[in-house]
């Protein structure tokens, strides 16, 4: 066990900061050892803040690599993680697409890398605003993917992510995604925890060599990633990644509980967070910042007598299949709202396609309304979300779907086109 470095002190403190700055504070609290970064909007202020921390001597012993592209970001992070250090980086949209080859590599190599994504819309046309299509494109990479709905959740989720990823039974990389500008560049109070308390929850790496079974050590020379023939264990290695994803659900619940007990902030069962679901007739599943606003919409409509609820999806990978079935069982009509696209998929939205897939053959006959909204940062107002709940209520009462559905999906908030 390594002793905490005495020159690395942080007392519990609440600051009013932007989402990106909360991410930087989390990396600092987690005592990351190697950071590699390349600027991209809207992520940039994460790595600017970390640069400030490192240059001011607030992160002693942390190496900060300023690379020339996102491909090199993830390549260098993979190198550093293979050598047994805790690593951090952040990116967005096009940057994530550019590093995509290495994203797969990190998971295949079973490295516990944590990366934050300030999500933005893919180009063309150029777009830098909130849209989760970037992170959704990593669905099948073997990374765990969670959404942080607010500023505090970014900080908290990063700390939990290291604990989950680095668990000896897991060893998979993890993304924490949040909305570009909507969260990355707005300010809210965030509690930065006392360093000793964080160290207790998430100890600095205890083993000099690195991760179990993964190390670059002349005492124990090891090959990483050499060619394997079709008759070798390739299929079995892949199955292990999937199996680990399934196991990770329990680990996520456990770590979320432990985090709640330690720091007093609860995040449902880790995978999802329900809001006023017990007597709801209809409900909507959201992710990201719009899941927070939806709680307000639920409160407002309940005052008007509507029996509505909502669910915040925290994890997209591993996908909370059992929780989704349970939610669907509780209501008569379930809306699934995507701020992302999955062109040509059954619903056009990544989450709604997943939910429909999870419900198939589950014995639950709840009506599902796929919703797509807010792409490329288009504002989704409180009124709009209230209306979505009313649309669901109408479906429940009359069986009538909105008349402007496209391919079975409700595209909400489109401009009027002649």
């Amino acid at each position: 066990m390594v002793e905490a470095q005495e020159d690395f002190v942080q007392e519990r403190e609440t600051k009013i900061i932007k989402g990106n700055i909360a991410a930087a504070y989390a990396a600092k609290s987690a005592r990351v050892q190697v950071i590699s970064a390349y600027p991209i909007t809207p992520q940039t202020t994460v790595v600017e803040k970390l640069s400030e921390f490192v240059d001011n001597g607030e992160m002693p012993g942390t190496e900060y690599i300023k690379v020339e592209s996102e491909h090199s970001v993830m390549a260098s992070i993979i190198g550093a993680s293979t050598a047994g250090t805790r690593t951090f980086t952040a990116t967005s949209g096009q940057g994530l697409f550019y590093m995509y080859e290495m994203v797969h590599w990190a998971a295949g190599a079973r490295l516990p890398i944590v990366t934050t994504i300030a999500s933005r819309g893919p180009a063309p046309p150029w777009n830098i605003w909130a849209d989760f299509t970037d992170i959704m494109s990593c669905r099948d990479t073997g990374w765990m993917i969670s959404f942080a709905a607010n500023h505090q959740e970014i900080y908290d989720d990063i700390l939990m992510s290291y604990k989950i990823s680095e668990d000896y039974d897991i060893l998979l990389p993890k993304f924490v995604a949040y909305g570009g500008f909507t969260v990355s560049h707005t300010s809210k109070p965030v509690t930065i925890e006392d360093q000793d308390a964080v160290d207790k929850f998430l100890p600095p790496l205890p083993d000099e060599r690195g991760w179990p079974h993964i190390f670059l050590d002349p005492e124990r020379p090891m090959m990483h990633g050499n060619l394997i023939m079709p008759s070798g264990f390739y299929n079995e290695f892949r199955l292990k990644i999937h199996h680990t994803m399934l196991l990770a659900k329990e680990k996520i619940r456990e770590v979320t509980d432990e985090f709640g007990n330690t720091f007093g902030r609860q995040y449902g069962n880790g995978l999802i967070q329900e809001y006023k679901m017990n007597d709801a007739d209809v409900a909507i599943i959201n992710y990201g910042e719009l899941a927070m606003q939806m709680e307000q919409a639920v409160d407002d409509l309940r005052e008007e007598g509507y029996k509505v609820g909502c669910v915040k999806l925290r994890y997209f990978r591993p996908f909370p299949v059992e929780d989704v079935i349970n939610i669907a069982r509780k209501v008569k009509v379930l809306g699934v709202a995507d701020r992302a696209t999955a062109f040509g998929s059954p619903t056009g939205g990544p989450l709604s396609s997943e939910v429909k897939s999870a419900l198939h053959n589950s014995g639950v006959s709840t009506q599902v309304l796929p919703i797509i909204m807010g792409l490329g940062g288009r504002e989704v107002s409180l009124e709009q979300q209230k209306n979505q709940l009313k649309v669901l209520t109408k479906i429940n009462e009359t069986g009538e779907f909105p008349n402007n559905m496209i391919g079975g999906t409700f595209w909400d908030g489109l401009l009027e086109v002649e």
Binding site: A75, P218, P221, L227
Partner: protein
């Protein structure tokens, strides 16, 4: 310079072991074997997509007796930068251990260096990442079946230049020197002691070191396996491949190349080219032109050296 006797007596330990699956007469094997003899056991290697990924042995077999990381094609220099940074971070947390003595090495082919890997390599050089980056240059994509790279010389036939390559070989060592890194060197697998010396020197220097080794490839060059040393030796003797070091911007010709400043000491280029099937499509006119280009290159080097010696 270390003598053959000394090298064989003092540096018997092998790190790139027998039983690997290189072709008979593979230049890469000689290059890596002598590089590792010079660098010793506290070395961690990163290799992007290249023959080396394959010839080290198929899983679970492994010929390298040192930490070895396979990497994606474009990612050699960046991954090594990460490894090197991690060793430094570990040295901070665990002082007095092996981590502060580690050398991070990249061994990449010419495709992984001069084409797809050049952006990452240029980034590492500009950052002066503490790595040794070695390009073993067999002058085409040999692993995928002899396709042209930007390091393929003019006139060479490959599976994607069936009439001989029109364009010329990219001069990567000079591009690396233009990054003002502390050490750039060229080697040939025909001169293993020169490889040994240059890797020893590179190890002693902090920052980004670049070593470019001409490595023969019998199937790719259309030469017999037993000529695998002789042909690159002819490359040096004809002056077609020049052995040198560049430190702090100053170029020094190495032992085998220095006498060739005198044109009469250089063997005619045709002696090198005519022994390889890949140059079989060159016309007489091409050969005369290539000899002229080479002579001009030597005139430039001579004047560069003269300038360095008499700056006024």
């Amino acid at each position: 310079m270390v003598s053959i006797k000394e090298a064989l007596e003092k540096y018997q330990e092998e790190f790139f072991l027998a039983g690997n699956s290189t072709c008979a007469g593979c230049g890469l094997e000689i290059a890596l074997r002598w590089a590792m003899k010079a660098l010793g056991p506290n070395t961690s290697l990163v290799t992007p997509a290249s023959c080396l990924n394959v010839v080290v042995g198929l899983w679970p077999k492994a010929a390298p007796n040192f930490p070895f990381m396979n990497m994606a094609f474009a990612a050699g220099a960046a991954a090594a930068t990460g490894v090197s940074a991690a060793f430094k971070a570990k040295a901070h947390r665990f002082p007095g251990k092996v981590w502060e003595k580690m050398t991070t090495l990249v061994f990449a082919g010419d495709g992984g260096t001069t084409d797809i890997g050049i952006q990452g390599l240029s980034g590492a050089a500009e950052r002066n990442s503490n790595i040794i980056y070695c390009c073993y240059d067999n002058e085409a994509y040999m692993n995928t079946g002899i396709q042209r790279s930007s390091s393929t010389p003019h006139g060479a036939v490959t599976t994607t230049t069936t009439l001989g390559k029109e364009r010329y070989k990219k001069n990567l060592p000079r591009i690396m020197a233009a990054h003002e890194i502390p050490y750039v060197a060229t080697c040939s697998v025909s001169e293993p002691l020169d490889i040994f010396e240059k890797f020893k020197k590179a190890k002693s220097i902090e920052g980004c070191k670049y070593i470019h080794i001409l490595a023969s490839c019998p199937p790719g060059w259309g030469i017999a396996s037993e000529d695998s040393i002789e042909i690159p030796r002819l490359a040096v003797k004809t002056g077609s491949w020049i052995l040198y070091e560049i430190e702090k911007g100053v170029i020094t010709l190495s032992k085998k190349s220095k006498p060739l400043l005198d044109p009469s000491k250089r063997a005619p280029l045709i002696e090198y080219l005519s022994r390889q099937k890949r140059f079989s499509k060159l016309s007489e006119k091409d050969l005369i032109e290539l000899q002229e280009i080479l002579d001009l290159q030597w005139l430039n080097i001579a004047s560069e050296i003269k300038c360095q010696e008499n700056p006024s």
